[in-house]
Structure formats: C-alpha cells, structure tokens
C-alpha cells in the first residue's frame, strides 16, 4: 500500500492526538459529589463547567478519531501495492512481410515476458489475445511502425490506471520500409524507452514469385512482360481489359497484385486527361522507358511510375488484403519498345508486391536508437494526463468519514439530552 499524499496521514495523526488530549482535558458538567447540606445551597440555574484530566466520552472519542482517520486516509489516497511498482507491458508483434519467420516472432514475444496487451501489426494494428498468438499468419502487407506505435499509445493509456510504469516491447524486423515520415514524430510522443527485440528480416527477392499474363500473343505489353522470368507467375495478374468480378475477387487476397494495364480507352473508366498529349518517357523505381508515349488518363493513388514531367503514370491503391495498380502507359502495338530491356526494368517495379518494392535493408543504427530511445520506462501517471493519481478508495473513505461525523453528531446530541 502506498499513498498519493502521505503528509495527509501525518496531519490526521496529529489531529487524532489532539482529539485524545482534548478528551483528556475534558471540560464538562461537574460530577455530583455528596454534600449532606446540599439543601442549603441556593437553588439557582447555574451553568458550570469543570476541567478534569481524565479520559472521557470514549464512544465520542472513538467516533471522532475514526472519522479523522477515515478522512485522513481518504485524502492521503491509498494505492494498492499491486498497482504501485508494477510494470505493464505492451508487446508489438510484427506480422508484416518484413519478418522472415513468424515462429521466430512468436518466440520473441514469449521471451519478452508476460504481456498485458498484445498488438499485431502490418500496415495496420489490431489487438490480439495471448491465445490467438499461435493463430496469426504472416501478412504480405508492408509493416507500419507508425500504426503500431500509435496503437501502443492508445493501449497504454488504458493500462496506465493499473500500473506504475509501462513498457513497450517491439518485436519486429524493423526494416527501412516500416518507417515512414510520421514514425519518428509518433515515437517522440511516447514518454519512455522502447525495448526493441529485432527478428530476422525477409531478404528474399523483391519481385513477386509469380506472374499471370493474358493469353494474347499479339499484345506488345504481354509480349514484353513474358520475357521476364517464368517463375514470376502466380501472385501478380496483369489485366489488359476491364476488370472482371473474378479479377476483383482475386485481387482482394493477401499478397496479390492486380495490375490493371488497359490496352485501350474502352478497357477502363479512368477520367480522361484534360489535354491528351504525348510525352517522351516514363520511369519507375526500377527503370525508365524513353519513347513517345501518349497520355490518355489521369490516375490517382500512390504513384509508382511517373511521366517525364512528374505526373503519375501508374498508381497503386489498396484493395482488400492486396492491391490494384493502375498503369496508364499505352504502348503502340506497332512499337517494339516492350521487347527491349528498359521495358523489362521499368516493369519490375510495377510487378513488385503491394507497398512498392521491398526495402528490406536494415534500419540504420541512428534511427534504430531514436526508436528505442533511452531513459526510464514511461510513467503511467504521465499517460493518465489530467487524471493524475486518483485513488479508488478515496471516495469511499471520505464517505465513511462523513458518516462517522454524522453518527458523532447524533451521539453527542443524545448524550446532551440524557445529561
């Protein structure tokens, strides 16, 4: 048991001692003493008080001391020892594509110690129970430490009333792709250090392991893409016509990349550009094509390829557990640009997994130190904000004190009437 305001206990103790002393030095109606000649004393109404050194009115004294003690305890604010000194732990579990093995992640989570809250994250974060840790699966989505830290901050707020300190254990590959512009800022909001338990990152090829192309040998794009390694087929589907319901259903699945690369104007409902023109080149993260290419549509979303003037030529938008990439690059069927290596290099970025090309490179030590931070664990009272250290016993103790004072009043009145 600890106290929010221990000095209140001292004040209550002093008040109790004063009460007891006051009861010892009781000023009360004199005790009747026999005097056979009392009849000769004038019968007048005289209010007299005497001072005596003796413990008097034990019931009243007990009530008063109990009331003072209850009020003192209430103001002192007892906190159960279980809450004081206790460390609540929030474990952030990375299930994104960055981690190599989810089993390793589970082991690390268990090694982190008993978790009061378990948060699994990839691009988004969600709460887990300890039982469901074995049932989670690895996600193909890119991890987001920002989402994880934000979720941890929220969870920690709910744990702060039951703990003194809160620790965040981050079980993650902590790869560069999991960091975004907001990560450092969000991390800065956490008022303590973070225990980073790094697991091995998935450093396999950044290109999807399968590629599904339309069966149209006369399509120059299909022809160009078919020159990519055959083992790419399977998780990336390139659609040159309108998207069908089957395509949409396929694209919703985790890790699937649906590349909508219309061959003509009739294959899409994208808004047409205000001015239809042509430009001399387009580039992606993996390469560039230098050719005269018409610009028919405007695409929206996260740009993964841009025209030479910077306007997005291809964009990615999340779709279910996968993503759809709209590629507005129209290739002249008579051109042989798709048969050359630059097209294949350019296309690699378009066929990469959702979330752009994988940046599995380990985070630099400076950023990692920034995320881990230093100093003590986060103090729960800081997270509680304005509701700083409120004892749940205080209202009850104050109520008991008030009740005792009422009883004392009633007893005092009844004893006066009896006297």
């Amino acid at each position: 048991m600890t106290w929010l305001l221990p000095s209140a206990l001292a004040i209550a103790g002093i008040a109790s001692v004063v009460l007891i002393v006051a009861h010892f030095i009781a000023r009360d109606r004199p005790v009747a003493e026999p005097l056979p000649t009392a009849r000769f004393v004038p019968d007048r109404r005289i209010q007299a008080r005497t001072t005596s050194i003796a413990l008097s009115d034990l019931l009243l004294l007990a009530l008063r001391v109990a009331a003072v003690a209850a009020l003192g305890l209430g103001i002192a604010g007892p906190i159960a020892a279980g809450a004081r000194g206790r460390i609540a732990r929030v474990v952030l579990l990375d299930r994104s594509r960055s981690v190599l093995s989810l089993a390793e992640v589970r082991d690390s989570v268990r090694a982190a110690g008993a978790a009061d809250a378990l948060v699994a994250f990839d691009s988004a974060a969600r709460m887990l129970t300890a039982r469901s840790i074995d049932s989670i699966e690895k996600s193909a989505a890119v991890g987001s430490l920002s989402a994880a830290l934000a979720a941890a901050h929220g969870v920690a707020g709910s744990l702060s009333s039951h703990a003194d300190s809160i620790e965040i254990a981050l079980v993650s590959a902590v790869s560069a792709e999991e960091i975004d512009a907001a990560t450092v800022s969000i991390r800065g909001l956490w008022p303590g250090r973070i225990r980073v338990m790094r697991v091995r990152a998935d450093t396999s090829s950044s290109v999807s392991s399968g590629l599904e192309l339309p069966r149209d040998p006369n399509d120059p794009v299909v022809a160009g893409l078919s020159l990519l390694p055959r083992e790419l087929g399977g998780e990336v589907r390139v659609v040159r016509a309108r998207l069908s319901a089957a395509d949409s259903a396929w694209g919703r699945e985790a890790g699937h990349v649906l590349v909508h690369w219309p061959a003509a104007d009739s294959a899409t409902d994208w808004p047409a550009r205000a001015i239809l023109d042509a430009i001399g080149g387009v580039s992606s993260a993996s390469g560039a094509i230098v050719a005269r290419l018409p610009r028919l549509w405007s695409v929206s979303g996260r740009a993964i390829a841009r025209w030479a003037d910077g306007e997005p030529a291809a964009a990615e938008r999340p779709f279910g557990a996968g993503c759809i990439r709209d590629v507005a690059v129209v290739v002249d069927p008579a051109s042989d640009v798709t048969l050359h290596a630059p097209f294949r290099d350019f296309s690699r970025a378009l066929l990469s997994p959702c979330g752009s090309a994988r940046a599995f490179s380990p985070l630099d030590s400076a950023t990692l130190s920034q995320i881990a931070g230093g100093g003590p664990l986060a103090a729960a009272r800081i997270l509680r904000g304005g509701a700083d250290d409120v004892s749940r016993f205080t209202p009850w103790l104050l109520a008991v004190g008030a009740l005792l004072l009422l009883i004392e009043l009633a007893v005092r009145r009844s004893s006066r009437m009896a006297a």
Partner: protein, 288 residues
C-alpha cells in the same frame, strides 16, 4: 471487649466525668441521681410531722421523747437514670465519603457517653438502624461489659439509607435519651418525639454532629448532591457559597433554639473536635 479496648484512650480520657440528671428522677432503683422520692436513706434532709399513714418506723422517737411531737425523718433518695443513646446511621452521617469523620465522631461520642453513664451507675443502651433499615436496640443495662457491647453495636453499624429517627425515639422507654445525629433527616418529627418524651418526665440530649467540610466546603465548583435525597443537586460555586454558609448557620441556630426550647440539651459538635472534649461538653450541657 476488643472493640472497647480499641477505645481505651477515649475511656481513659472520660474517666471521672459525671453526667448528672437534669432534674430529679423518679426511678425506684437506687442510683446516683436525685430521686423525686423521699426515702430512708442515710442522707438526712428534714423532719416532717407525722401524718396518718406514714410508716411508724420512720418516726424519730428521740425527738418525740424530747418534744412530745411525732416527727418523721426525711432523706433524699438516689436513683438511677436509664440512658439510651440513639445513633443516627443515615447516609448523611457517612460524610466526608473518604474519611467518614461524622460517623467516626458519632461512634466515639456513643462509646464515651455510654462509659460516662455506666460509670455513674446508670443502665445504658444504644439504638440505631442497621444497614437493612431495621432497628438494632440494645436495652439499657448496668452489667460490666455493657460499654463493650455498645461499642460492638456502634462499630458494627454502617451508615446508609434515610430511615427516620422519630419512630425509633418513640419506641424507647429510657428516662434519658441521647440523640447523636446531624439532624439532616426527619428533624421536625424527631423534635416532636423528644418533646413528648420530655413532657412525659424524661430528659433528652442531642449532640448535633456537623462536619467541618459542611461548614467550609471545598472552594471549587461543586455539584452538591444530598446523599439521602438524590433529586437534590445544587451547584455550589463561589457566587452561591456565601449564601450557603449563611443559610446553614441560620438553620443551625434555629435548630439549637428549637431543641433547647423543647427542653432538650443541645450541643453542636464539629468533626475536628476531640471526642473526649465533646463527651465532656455533652455531659456538662445537661447540668446547665
């Protein structure tokens, strides 16, 4: 005997004290007090002419021979005075509570006066109420150990309650009644009983026991409670003290006047007075 022995100093101190009757007594038994009867004792008083019916043996034949007149010799008779000491054992006598000075002095007076009466050859007894309110009466006797018996009865008494004295006084037939009391009980009734006793030819003495603490109560705020009347509780403070003293003094003076007017011998005894001196004063008061 042991009780009497514990009062040895008192008995020694009152040895030689006489307690004469206040008037001639009419007892037939020979004693030390003047009798209302004229008898044939050796103490010649006067001659009186023979009247028919006088005992011829009382005729002074020598005087008849010289004067040819028949005179008979008269002599003062001496008679005993049966004495009963009535000891007030009411609750007010157990004061002060810690020392019981009033009760102790009353016991000493009882024993001392009994010893004086016994030394004068008078039968002496004692009467008081016991702790249960019953009257304990030891009739007047002249035997040697009567003082010890009286001491035993007096020492066995325990003041308490508020039994009236008047019925007890009326029930006694002794010629001399000695009332040792603080007169804080049924004083009016007791006075009436004593007056009747005096009118009937007896004599009465009252030793009024007053505690020094009653005359001079503690000088502090005091809630005075009458031990015999629980409902009487008065606050004695400095402002009421003077009036208390005046009332008490006036009452004592009135009591002394009324008892003396009734023919009783009244003696006020304060608790800080030595018992032998008090005994002498009570005994001497009868001679006045």
């Amino acid at each position: 005997m042991a009780a009497a022995a514990s009062y040895g100093a008192l008995l020694d101190a009152v040895r030689g004290v006489h307690w004469p009757a206040r008037r001639a007594v009419s007892s037939l038994l020979p004693g030390t007090h003047h009798s209302t009867l004229r008898g044939t004792s050796a103490e010649f008083t006067e001659y009186r002419l023979y009247r028919q019916g006088d005992d011829p043996r009382r005729v002074d034949w020598r005087l008849l021979a010289r004067s040819d007149r028949a005179y008979i010799r008269l002599a003062n008779d001496r008679a005993v005075l049966p004495t009963t000491i009535v000891l007030d054992a009411s609750a007010s006598m157990a004061f002060p509570v810690t020392t019981r000075d009033k009760w102790r002095l009353a016991q000493q007076l009882t024993i001392g006066l009994a010893a004086v009466a016994h030394a004068d050859g008078d039968p002496v007894g004692v009467a008081l109420h016991d702790a249960n309110g019953k009257a304990a009466i030891l009739p007047p006797r002249t035997r040697r150990d009567v003082v010890a018996e009286i001491a035993r009865v007096a020492l066995a008494g325990d003041p308490g309650g508020s039994e009236p004295l008047a019925p007890l006084l009326r029930s006694l037939r002794s010629a001399r009644l000695v009332l040792i009391t603080d007169l804080l009980g049924d004083e009016e009734d007791a006075l009436r009983a004593v007056r009747a006793h005096i009118v009937g030819g007896g004599e009465a003495h009252v030793a009024h026991i007053v505690a020094r603490e009653e005359l001079d109560p503690p000088r502090r705020t005091l809630l005075a409670a009458d031990p015999e009347q629980a409902f009487v509780q008065r606050m004695l403070v400095e402002s009421t003290r003077r009036e208390y003293e005046e009332r008490f003094a006036a009452w004592r003076a009135d009591v002394a006047r009324r008892w003396r007017a009734a023919g009783a011998s009244y003696t006020e005894v304060i608790t800080d007075e030595a018992a032998p001196r008090a005994v002498r004063r009570v005994a001497a008061a009868g001679e006045q």
